[in-house]
Amino acid sequence: DAGVTQSPTHLIKTRGQQVTLRCSPKSGHDTVSWYQQALGQGPQFIFQYYEEEERQRGNFPDRFSGHQFPNYSSELNVNALLLGDSALYLCASSFRTSGYYEQYFGPGTRLTVT
């Protein structure tokens, strides 16, 4: 049973460029959340996708956008990259129920903006 996978593992971009990160959720999971983890900090919620719609958004600008596909995989897009966007981007998947649930994190994509 494959866990959460993310690609690429590492990425180097220049200020002003655009980037797309990809995530495949754990088998059986239908919800994908994206988090940004700066060095030495806890992960910060960017947004969550369920049924191909953005359900909730954290305190991130519109430069951050996403998408969920019918197979539940997801993409995170960041436009007009800033130096401050350098971070580990984590995807977490879960199965949406009416109760509480644990989230399974992928290995992350390390983005460096120069």
Binding site: G40, G42, Q44, Q56, Y100, F105
Partner: protein, 112 residues
């Protein structure tokens, strides 16, 4: 907005010593999840606490949720080198997306 404070930021112990990290909030926490992140790794779910005063144990790890649901703790008895990593608490919002609000974590190093 919702904030979760975690202390200490760093903790260095000798192997065999105990370790405790604390998670606090000025507002009532919905439910607390604890994660461990090894150096260079990603957060891995450890446990979830939902009820006021709840205590759960996993081998050498003991998790507590405060009576007022404003604090939580993780205690490790007799640390081992395999316990090295950063321990995060996260409050999971109820309703909507159930997003996680993470503390800044406690980085544990263990001297063999």
């Amino acid at each position: 907005g919702q904030q979760v404070m975690q202390i200490p930021q760093y903790q260095h112990v000798q192997e065999g010593e105990d370790f405790t990290t604390y998670c606090n909030s000025s507002t009532t926490l919905s439910n607390i999840q604890w994660y461990k992140q090894r150096p260079g790794g990603h957060p891995v779910f450890l446990i979830q606490l939902v009820k006021s005063g709840e205590v759960k144990k996993q081998k050498r790890l003991t998790f507590q949720f405060g009576e007022a649901k404003k604090n939580s703790s993780l205690h490790i008895t007799a640390t081992q080198t395999t316990d090295v990593g950063t321990y995060f608490c996260a409050d999971q919002e109820r309703g909507g997306s159930e997003k996680l609000v993470f503390g800044k974590g406690t980085k544990l190093t263990v001297n063999p």
